[in-house]
């Protein structure tokens, strides 16, 4: 077990290094001068005289060999130096510190709600197979997978914001400043982000529970005369969660991927929206940082998911 964890962590580190290589070199291998990244707009480059350009290159270390540049860049990341944003005229690391917690906050709420509801709905649908609960959950989960979340967001904004005036249409307030307002503003974005994940998780949970219900140890539990409550909690839930855990890992990726869309729809100043606006502003340093951070989140999640298998299922020996 310990060796497995060490190996798994080491492997994640290798992936992390590959990640930085990929992000760094894909930026450098592009046609065009890397100095564009720093100057920001390609127009600025044309009007610059060659001497000033050389000076700028030396200033950013672009005259050095590419591997040296790479190590300087990675070294910078470890010191919390992600470069400087051209559009915001600000340290990218500082910018991230402002934007990142918002995305994480919304993502975490969504994840908790989505896993709770997804697992619950899937289990109910399976335990009451063919009954009313199943007939409601199964079609709904089908719709949930197909719905474009940005469109759902606009639909809800129209209904609950513009027509019924129940909720503020968009924006973000820090929960420390005004908790009620913050929560009211988050209802719609969180629902939008959660819908796809709830649908996916409940489908997986349903089929997983249906599989476990057939197992011998469940029949044994029934024949021992255990209560349904106990069987569901002790035997069914834990065993049917294993395939669902894998999906939970994907759900995190899905939620943060979706945050790009939902933050744009609801005008939330998080990392997702930052990435989109930076793409249009040609602010490549920010795009680079956002991509890297999103990928690291997924990487860490996958690591946690892999570890949790052993806790849930002691049969998995970690070969």
């Amino acid at each position: 077990m310990t060796t497995y964890i060490i190996r798994r962590v080491l492997w994640s580190l290798v992936i992390l290094i590959m990640l930085t290589l990929l992000v760094f070199f894909s930026m450098r291998l592009l046609p065009g001068d890397p100095i564009i990244i720093y100057v920001g707009q390609s127009q600025g480059l044309v009007s610059m005289d060659p001497e000033a350009l050389d000076e700028l290159k030396a200033q950013f270390g672009l005259d050095k060999p590419i591997m040296v540049q790479y190590f300087n860049w990675v070294g910078g990341i470890f010191r919390g130096d992600l470069g400087e944003s051209v559009t915001y005229q600000e340290d990218v690391a500082k910018l991230m510190l402002k934007r990142f917690p918002i995305t994480i906050y919304i993502g975490a709420i969504t994840f908790v709600i989505a896993t709770f509801l997804g697992v619950l709905a899937g289990m109910f649908a399976a335990l009451r197979r063919g009954k009313l609960a199943d007939q409601i959950v199964t079609p709904l989960s089908y719709i949930g997978i197909c719905i474009p979340i940005f469109w759902l967001g606009i639909l809800m904004m129209y209904a609950f914001g513009l027509k019924l005036h129940w909720l503020p249409t968009s924006g973000y307030t820090s929960p420390f400043k005004d908790f009620l307002m913050s929560t009211r503003q988050l209802v719609m974005p969180v629902i939008c982000l959660a819908v796809t994940q709830i649908a996916g998780l409940s489908r997986q949970m349903r089929s997983s529970v249906l599989e476990v219900v057939r197992q011998d140890y469940v029949r044994t539990a029934w024949s021992k005369g255990l209560s349904e409550r106990l069987i569901v909690i002790k035997h069914l839930l834990k065993n049917s969660l294993i395939p669902v855990i894998t999906l939970m890992g994907f759900a995190i990726g899905g939620i943060f991927g979706g945050s790009v869309l939902i933050e744009s729809v609801f005008n939330i100043p998080g990392m997702g929206r930052l990435m989109v606006t930076s793409i249009f502003a040609q602010d490549y340093v920010v795009v680079q940082a956002c991509t890297l951070i999103f990928a690291i989140i997924v990487l860490v999640t996958n690591l946690v998911v892999d570890m949790s298998y052993g806790w849930l299922d002691p049969r998995i020996r970690y070969g």
Partner: protein
């Protein structure tokens, strides 16, 4: 399921392949909802091909005197902020969605199958390198990787196809890799090898055909996902260039006129949902019909 059976001899003698095809047909066409999905898909393909004949107006024609019209007999779904007919744009959007969907999946499936097959078949260092790169690509959320690539390459429909293709590639490669590993162990592959078949021949004529059924299911289910992702990207403004019609971009265009003309945003969203829904229905139907584990139960 590879070749259509000759219906006249079907009942006299039933060789395995024919009965397999019959089982597939029976299970696949048994559920009405799957047939519905298939019909919707065929309809959409028809709409995409004959968009120019079906659209009541030119989707790019502006009419500054008739902007933001409500649905009427002249304009069944109304007009947008520069007076373009929403229905016509919706019809042309079908083309965009299906072209992006099919080409993206076509490219990534081809590359994914090839990489997975080579990695699984040869094993060793080749396997290690290919699959580790796939691990790397899969550690990005799909839309983030697509956005990153689109940011590097710039907008435009081609780049969206490349971006989505690269981000959906590792999924196919992984599944194909797994399938190759298990199919490789079968006796018929060993027999083929013993008869002196080349690597190429073994891979293409023995492993690949046996891996196809599960791959077809995956591809169908993925098509819906790709169309959703394309819609998301075009909603953000990355994708087909402005006068062109894409559903996601249409949702975004209508966003500002939500109170005056909500149909502008609603209609394209429904279209997206319909396509994804249809692909999922057909995918599920194919899975039920092709999955050997379900044989006997269905």
């Amino acid at each position: 399921m590879v070749t259509a059976p000759d219906t006249t001899t079907e009942f006299k003698e039933a060789p395995p392949r024919v009965s397999e095809w019959r089982r597939f047909r029976r299970v696949f066409f048994q559920r009405r909802i799957v047939i519905l999905g298939l019909l919707v898909l065929l309809l959409l393909v028809f709409v995409a091909i004959f968009a120019a004949w079906l659209a009541p107006y030119n989707p790019y024609d502006q009419d500054m005197r008739g902007t933001l019209q409500q649905p009427s007999r002249q304009h069944l779904l109304g007009t947008d902020s520069i007076g373009r007919d929403t229905l016509s744009r919706l019809i042309y959007g079908t083309r965009t969605a299906l072209i992006v969907g099919f080409t993206t999946v076509g490219i990534s499936v081809f590359a994914g199958i090839l990489l997975g097959l080579i990695a699984g078949y040869f094993g060793g260092a080749v396997n290690m390198i290919i699959m580790r790169i796939m691990d790397l690509l899969i550690s990005f959320p799909m839309i983030i990787l697509a956005l990153f690539i689109a940011a590097l390459l710039g907008g435009g429909i081609q780049n969206v196809i490349i971006a989505l293709g690269i981000s959906s590639l590792p999924g196919y490669a992984r599944v194909m890799h797994g399938l190759t590993l298990s199919i490789r162990e079968n006796d018929y592959v060993m027999a083929e090898r013993a008869m002196g078949s080349s690597n190429m021949r073994t891979m293409l004529s023995h492993i690949l055909p046996n891996a196809l059924p599960p791959m077809i299911v995956l591809i169908t289910l993925q098509l819906g996902g790709i169309i959703l992702a394309e819609a998301g990207l075009s909603y953000l403004g990355i994708g087909i260039k402005p006068p062109g019609a894409a559903w996601g971009a249409m949702v975004n265009d209508g966003y500002r006129y939500l109170l005056t003309n909500p149909m502008l945003s609603f209609a394209p969203g429904i279209a997206i949902m319909l396509v994804v829904f249809a692909f999922n229905l057909v995918g599920d139907g194919l899975r039920d019909a092709l999955d050997p584990r379900l044989r006997g139960t269905l």
